[in-house]
Symmetry: C2
Subunit: 412 residues, 2 copies
């Protein structure tokens, strides 16, 4: 009996490097050494790169010097050149280490998107070219953040775009893992600049990370986490500059220890609150308030509607401080149309959130949170909750104190 030689497919690893990890030629070479080590360890490696350091800002500044309000399509063509520079540089750096490599732009990598410029969604992924290059023994370096819309137009994926590219590729290629290299060591129980005793998490579940990311922790963009959860793709957040275990973002089932705990404290400064007061309480009234804001690309965050009283209600919500003035202007018009009494705006607020799957069905968590803030005489302006998160809106100048108090209260 003779045995035919068996072709063993090498596991695929996707490694994403952010802009600060690629800020200089020296940093690109350092990242290339990491990639080379992974290839040497037996992986087929796909690298996803962001634009180098501040190159996106430099391109935006050029645009602002030729036009006040550049068309989104042209801005996408322009901004996509940022990753168009870093991808071949990474490929060259790998070649220099003796690692065969090839760089692909979004359209070459088969990343199809819808045509919503500046915030395109990936609608299809045809990784035939990537798979062929991997089979030929090459590391494939993909320009993140970009894709091809209709008519071969270049699109960009908006904030967190390169993370999204990495996770989408990892899912399409059935990668064994997706590593996100960044300028922090992983996900912490709170912002280490606020809470020196903050602890690096070994693992965090997708829903918890989603809440953390949406609540102000900027390490990962929620979109990328959503896609990872949908495909149960483990994400490994690590530092480009330090060795160390980093944090693995995975399903709740994969976290054996500490399942019922509060996982971390997130915060976000620069929050404004808007209240539409004396709104006639009838069906469709919420839509008539929020649709014009969405049209102006203003995201309303924590939304609270008071109980209706004598046919009128108050609607309060938060937006990013930068959007506050524009939101107030829009709501002024809306209030007149729907017959609301007035619009109130308040700036200088902040969000502080307690996050963890342990919150689910444990009323004690909310009570502990409110007591910790109350003990410090920090006033709660608004409250919002989800299954795995409790958020309080407070005065911005108290946010550091609040995060520290909560970190202590939950013994993180």
């Amino acid at each position: 009996m003779s045995a035919l030689p068996e072709t063993v497919a090498r596991p695929i690893l996707v490694q994403k490097f952010g802009g600060s990890s690629l800020g200089t030629p020296g940093r690109i070479k350092r990242a290339a050494r990491r990639v080379a080590a992974s290839q040497g360890a037996g992986y087929d490696v796909v690298v996803v790169v962001s634009a180098m350091g501040d190159s996106t800002d430099r391109l935006l500044s050029l645009a602002s010097r030729v036009a006040k309000d550049p068309a989104a399509r042209e801005l996408d063509q322009l901004l996509s050149t940022g990753e168009g520079v870093s991808a071949p540089l990474m490929s060259m750096a790998l070649n220099e280490l003796g690692v065969p490599a090839v760089s692909l732009l979004g359209f070459q990598a088969g990343i199809q998107t819808d045509r919503r410029h500046a915030r395109a969604r990936i609608v299809g992924l045809t990784p035939a070219r990537i798979e062929r290059e991997l089979a030929d023994g090459r590391v494939v370096v993909v320009a993140g953040f970009q894709g091809m819309g209709t008519e071969m137009d270049v699109t960009t994926l908006g904030r967190g775009g390169s993370d999204t590219t990495a996770v989408a590729l990892a899912a399409a290629l059935k990668a064994q893992a997706c590593e996100i290299f960044t300028d922090v060591r992983g996900i912490y129980t709170a912002d280490p600049r606020f809470v020196p005793s903050a602890r690096l998490l070994t693992r965090i579940a997708y829903p918890e990370m989603l809440e953390l990311a949406s609540s102000g922790a900027r390490v990962m963009h929620p979109r990328a986490v959503e896609i990872a959860e949908a495909y149960t793709m483990e994400l490994h957040v690590r530092s480009s500059f330090h060795a160390g275990p980093g944090t693995i973002i995975c399903s709740e089932e994969a976290i054996m220890e500490d399942r019922n705990r509060v996982r971390g404290i997130a915060h976000e400064e620069h929050v404004a609150r808007l209240s539409v007061v004396g709104v006639p309480d009838r069906p469709g009234i919420a839509a008539s308030i929020f649709a014009p804001l969405a049209d102006a690309d203003i995201a309303a965050d924590v939304i609270v509607q008071t109980a209706s009283h004598e046919g009128v209600t108050d609607m309060s919500f938060t937006v990013a401080s930068a959007d506050g003035r524009e939101a107030e202007r829009i709501l002024g018009g809306v209030a007149r149309e729907i017959g609301a009494r007035t619009v109130l705006a308040q700036n200088g607020l902040a969000k502080v959130s307690v996050i963890g799957s342990g919150i689910r069905g444990q009323p004690g968590v909310a009570a502990t949170m409110f007591k910790a803030l109350s003990d410090r005489r920090i006033n709660i302006e608004m409250i919002s909750t989800s299954e795995v998160r409790i958020t309080c809106i407070i005065q911005a100048e108290r946010v550091k104190e609040a995060v520290t108090a909560l970190h202590e209260a939950f013994k993180l």
Copy 2:
């Protein structure tokens, strides 16, 4: 009798702007105003742009900092981002002037090339997208210098690439004219930095311009002139910074006056001469000398073979100074193989050429040239001629004097 409204196609104008014409946002805006004026004058305009100012040098410097010898494919991906930046900026600047515009990269513009990276040739042009955008009333801004090779890989066209893009598009679109905007006012009878009395030419024929371009006048690349001649596309070389008539490059038939004259004096410094001495004179010997140089991408220019004497001959030719040392090394090996006696190399030479269709069949032109140089005691090291050009190789330190003497001798 009723007349149906007649659709009159607007004439198409291709306008190409070089890197120095786009060096800053202010210069891009100035170029955009020119384009807007042409559109306002009734043309459908296609703009071809080079990379901004020194951006290609900046990209090359980045590459050199991550790899000693970057792969040509990756270098093409990298360098193409230069025009990828200037094209959308030009489009935005046009929008800002109220002119609808759209930017297209080489692959979007339908520019297909072979796969020879860094020196690709255009093998096909499918301008469907450009025609559709023009029909929709938009100015189309095309990134010059780049195309799409096989497998959607980005290629670049090498030196003079953006000129080539402009002329190829003008031919494919059956444009009425192709304007080349540059940092000089047009084609002169000699380099104005050498000869203050040099005169701007109103018109010059394709073969004359080809010889001028090949003989050191850097305004237009010979490839672009060749394509223009093949399609009888008139090229209009003009200054970006000054109003003025510029120079029209056209067929000889279109030049009514001065048909039998010397048109101009060209020169090129930094020339080295190599001589393979005592070459056994047998068939195929020239190929065995020049093929290894071509493989090393070294262009041999003026080639002179002495009459064979006792079965051996000498072969001399010029190369760019920068290639001199490498050529000498290669020829050392060749000389041993073919049994030649030795290889001599001389640096510090220059080329000076008299150009004009009037040279054809007029021996007096050569005599006048040699006498003018001899009167100044400038030694002629080598001579080479074509139908419309006579070139002498002289000592580099005499080149300015030689150009001035010839400009006077031919009363330009």
